[in-house]
Symmetry: C2
Subunit: 223 residues, 2 copies
């Protein structure tokens, strides 16, 4: 069985990605990042998801991105918007995917993994530059020059299986694979019990995804 | 004046790079990473170097790479070698430069910086895959797809001004630019006062560099 790293946020997208990787026969090492995000209850969700979907292990790396700020997710003085806005949203965290994929690359090196799975999605989050396929392809090229394993002839693949799927597609695929979405947390403003605000971009996209898929929304809202 | 990020380890190489960037007219934001390294006294050296060479600011990001291990620098059960060995040395830290450059990219994004300076060197450390010019070029390509600033037409450059210099060249250049190398720490096994062991690879290369440059070695050894 081949090893993979799966970046796991605790949300709906990455839970589906983990289920897809497992269904594809990968032994999965899950990685979550405690980066000082507002929605830290995500990390507890990530641990539940890793357990429920049979990850071989789950590691959490602490990295305080609040030292840089620049995002509504890492700077408490910037409010999370409750309505869509044009351009790249203020919830964009500078270089976040690059940092997370780099940490996954280190984990891949020490575990002898051949792939890194990411829940990057270019459809619903088209404003985030580091969710686009051309970005992910460039990261893969760089990664294959970066490590001892790559030099020794064992390439690494960056796998983004939901990058071109709509939220409804993702919800359907996850449901088909038996993912219990009630244990996931997507909300940027979730409370300490993991209950969603129902108003932020992430809540809106998630709710619309269940509606478009014609499936009941199991999200626990606090309203 | 244009902004740059300078990755500063507290050692001889990155101190010289900061001096080169300053001499070139850049406003420099220095970045150091507290990654659980054995030689943490480096971080105090980095703060001294940032001050002495006029960095506009100096930030330290905490990121515990011991969660991955796999290197003599982050796993206390792996000894630091005291003699050269063939192949990639055990002091190689998986994906370290990729992680550090990614953090510098986030810092560049929030400070509106046009360049990231790194002390990567492909001559003395030719065993490290992530110190080679082709790796750095691939990182730059990826970085220019990763950020909001890049999308908005402000490219980022990865500048590695000493990548092809010998240690003697670096020592000479730093000396010409007035770098006080006595405040830098390169040793992998430095004690709490920053005194060098004189035996590890890093000490050996540094000592040979001063000798080849025909300059007095100001390093404080504990022997």
């Amino acid at each position: 069985m081949k090893n993979a790293i799966v970046l796991l946020s605790g949300g709906l997208d990455s839970a589906t990605v983990l289920a897809m990787a497992r269904a594809d026969g990968w032994k999965c090492n899950a990685l979550s990042i405690d980066y000082g995000q507002r929605h830290r209850v995500e990390l507890e969700a990530a641990a539940r998801v890793a357990r429920a979907l049979g990850a071989a292990e789950h590691r959490i790396v602490a990295l305080d991105l609040r030292v840089f700020g620049g995002s509504a997710l890492t700077d408490s003085s910037i409010a999370v918007p409750t309505a869509p806005s044009p351009g790249i949203p203020v919830t964009y965290v500078p270089a976040r995917n690059t940092i997370f994929l780099s940490l996954a690359l280190a984990y891949a090196e020490v575990t002898g993994s051949d792939a890194i799975f990411t829940g990057a999605n270019a459809v619903d989050y088209s404003g985030y530059p580091d969710c686009r396929p051309e970005y992910l392809a460039a990261f893969e090229l760089m990664a294959n020059l970066a490590t001892r394993r790559a030099l020794e002839g064992a390439p690494i693949r960056i796998v983004a299986p939901i990058v071109k799927m709509t939220k409804a597609d993702i919800v359907r695929r996850g449901t088909d694979l038996g993912v219990d979405f009630s244990i996931t947390v997507s909300c940027y403003n979730a409370d300490a019990q993991g209950r969603a605000c129902g108003q932020c971009d992430s809540c809106r996209l998630r709710r619309e995804g269940f509606a478009a898929a014609g499936l009941a929304d199991p999200t626990r809202y606090r309203l």
